[in-house]
């Protein structure tokens, strides 16, 4: 066929039919980068305001404060990492808080029995880690199996299982803190890779600090505490899995269009079970770290962190409709919450204000995500969570 028809398909080359104008491009870029910009502005704000309000005696961006912020975000971030996968897959996991508590109790009991049975400290800690991960992973697999196979909404399943896990954690800990752990584990939870001592007779030390007197101890900063390093490793693994593996790709596909995932032969049920197992495992690692940090297992440690972790994920740009989000976004989200909290405390603002600010940021984050969705004409998405 001659004439204009013959070139018809080649004309598909024209850019998206609606056309991407410069202003739309700008808004799109802004919506993707706003979390970074917000974090930077917030740090700038505290860097300026903290010394002013404290008459120059306190600075925000100090070595010590930055390390404190990093330590503070580890549990929230770990819970958020697994949650990121689940929410990208258009699910939700409300059980991670209590799963973290359960893992804390299980790892404390495991470390104590292993050590009391005569094992050296390090193998006992490893056994504690494996027990925490296995216990948490088991809960996650059950969650996932009920969601995938019995088609019960994720919201309901994980709400129910969080109550069950709470009961089990309290039963196992006999409603008290699990103590009597070998004293040496404190070092795993609190010591760091580097030590820096400011001022006279100071310097940078690797692995072990020198013997110090009280006055010099106050001048010592811990750089890269072990929990932060372990969390950074988990972050790197999570990024790799989400971006580079088939499992990550399928997670986006399931969240983007469940029907398409099913029809193209993706093993959707198996992927959903893995998603909830993964979420529970990162919560288990958080529970294990809290046991090391406090030299005790606690059945109530994780619950208050659940909502913060979901807030971090949402601020980080993971769409609650599924199909969109990144690990880096969640890290930024967790950082925003921690910087806000720390900064407000340093401004001597009553701590209740942090809740009001964090809540506002969450809602603004979702508004930005939605306006982006409208801009690109996002289609209605399947959602198995609710």
């Amino acid at each position: 066929m001659a004439g204009p028809e013959s070139n018809a398909v080649a004309d598909l080359a024209v850019a998206p039919s609606s056309g991407v104008s410069a202003s739309r491009q700008f808004v799109l870029a802004l919506s993707r980068l706003w979390a970074w910009a917000f974090l930077a502005l917030m740090i700038l704000f505290f860097v300026i305001s903290v010394p002013i309000l404290n008459n120059g005696t306190v600075n925000f961006l100090t070595l010590r404060n930055s390390q404190n912020i990093l330590v503070a975000i580890t549990p929230v971030l770990l819970l958020g990492l697994g949650q990121t996968f689940v929410i990208i897959g258009a699910g939700i996991d409300l059980s991670v808080g209590w799963v973290m508590s359960l893992a804390s109790v299980i790892s404390a009991l495991a470390i104590r029995s292993a050590f009391n049975a005569g094992l050296p400290l390090f193998p006992s800690v490893i056994i504690g880690f494996l027990a925490a991960v296995a216990g948490a992973g088991f809960v996650g697999m059950i969650n996932g199996a009920i969601i995938a196979k019995l088609k019960v909404p994720a919201f309901i399943v994980t709400l129910g299982s969080s109550f069950i896990v709470r009961g089990v954690a309290l039963l196992m800990s006999e409603n008290t803190t699990v103590i009597g752990l070998p004293d040496g584990i404190r070092q795993y939870g609190n010591e760091s890779l580097f030590y820096f001592i400011r001022g006279e007779g100071g310097g940078l030390y690797f692995l072990a600090p020198p013997e110090l007197t009280g006055e010099m101890l106050r001048r010592m900063d811990r750089i890269l505490p072990y929990p932060v390093i372990l969390t950074a490793i988990v972050v790197a693994i999570a990024m790799f899995v989400l971006r580079k593996t088939q499992f990550g790709r399928h997670t986006y596909a399931i969240g983007g269009n469940l029907e398409a995932a099913l029809r193209t032969g993706i093993p959707v049920d198996r992927r959903i079970i893995s998603l909830y197992a993964l979420s529970a495992v990162t919560a288990g690692i958080a529970g294990f770290l809290s046991t090391l940090r406090f030299t005790a297992g606690s059945a109530v440690i994780g619950d208050p962190l659940l909502l913060s972790s979901i807030a971090a994920v949402i601020i980080g740009g993971v769409s609650l409709f599924g199909g969109a989000g990144t690990i880096v976004g969640t890290v930024i989200g967790a950082l925003i919450i921690a910087v806000l909290t720390t900064g407000l405390v340093m401004l001597n603002v009553q701590s209740f204000w942090q809740f009001i600010v964090v809540g506002t940021v969450v809602i603004v984050a979702v508004l930005i995500d939605q306006s982006r969705g409208l801009l690109v004409g996002r289609r209605a998405r399947s959602r198995h969570a609710m």
Binding site: M1, E5, S6, A8, V9, A10, D11, L12, A13, V14, A15, P16, S17, S18, V20, K244, T245, Q246, R249, H250, Y252, A253, G255, G256, N257, E259, A260, A261, R263, T264, G265, I266, G323, A324, V376, G377, R378, R379
Partner: protein, 254 residues
């Protein structure tokens, strides 16, 4: 005379008391576009779902490439090369063109003897590009989420996916629905191109202009039965409408 690629013999499918497909005989030959017409509830979707393995017929046989085919599952039909493109296209709008073409069948690179497997993005992008080029489809970017593409472009992605996975028979359900007129022309052009490359296409449609624009032959169903089968050049809109509403019926004439 070449042998039919798809041959349906006395096919009957019932849902309870309703006979959705009633003793249908139909042949589809290599290198032709065949339109399947009928009013809502005429049984065309049910017939197609029997061919693509979604439904299993009670009576009759389906021969595909000369072999008796009893598909228990849509994946069985796809493995044999029968690709069905439904109106919703089964694409993940949040993923790019390459990811969609390879959805569920991703290429992987192996490390440490297969212990670690990563997506082979380069290979998938390369193959996607080659397939799109063979169909003379050009996109400004293959690495953007396809939610930025138009309806016709997404249709093209779905077709390219089927072709890459070696479709030997393409079934398309109302492919020009919800598209603007220029985009409709592009999709029809793509259907002609498939035929020219030897892939037969079954076009399920309500849109009579599409039928006359691309199809070589057509078949009309009414209340589960085949009421006529013709060369497209030997009929017209008016006659087809009469067949579709049941006013004409070849079986009754004879």
């Amino acid at each position: 005379m070449t042998a039919p690629i798809l041959s349906i013999r006395n096919l009957t499918k019932r849902f309870g008391g309703l006979t959705a497909v009633n003793k249908v005989n139909w042949d589809v030959y290599p290198g032709e576009v065949v339109a399947l017409l009928g009013d809502n509830g005429a049984g065309k979707s049910t017939l197609i779902k029997c061919v693509s393995g979604v439904h299993q017929a009670e009576e009759g046989e389906i021969y595909f490439e000369g072999r008796l085919s009893e598909f228990a599952h849509p994946m069985d039909a796809r493995r044999r090369g029968i690709e069905t493109i439904y109106q919703d296209l089964a694409l993940a709008n949040n993923l790019d063109v390459g990811a969609n073409i390879f959805l569920g069948r991703e290429e992987k690179k192996l490390y440490f003897g297969g212990l670690i497997r990563t997506l082979d993005e380069q290979k998938m992008l390369r193959e996607a590009k080659a397939t799109l080029e063979s169909l003379e489809i050009h996109f400004p970017s293959l690495t953007q989420p396809i939610e930025n593409l138009s309806g016709g472009q997404r249709q093209a992605v779905a077709i390219a996916r089927a072709i890459y996975w070696d479709a030997r028979l393409m079934i398309m359900d109302e492919p020009t629905n919800n598209l603007g007129v220029p985009e409709q022309h592009k999709v029809l052009e793509l259907i002609r191109r498939l035929r020219d490359q030897g892939v037969p296409v079954i076009l399920i449609t309500h849109t009579l202009p599409d039928v006359f624009a691309v199809s070589d032959r057509l078949m009309v169903m009414h209340r589960g039965r085949k009421v006529t089968e013709k060369k497209t050049s030997e009929t017209d809109t008016q006659e087809l409408v009469q067949y579709m509403v049941g006013a004409l019926d070849d079986a009754k004439v004879q």
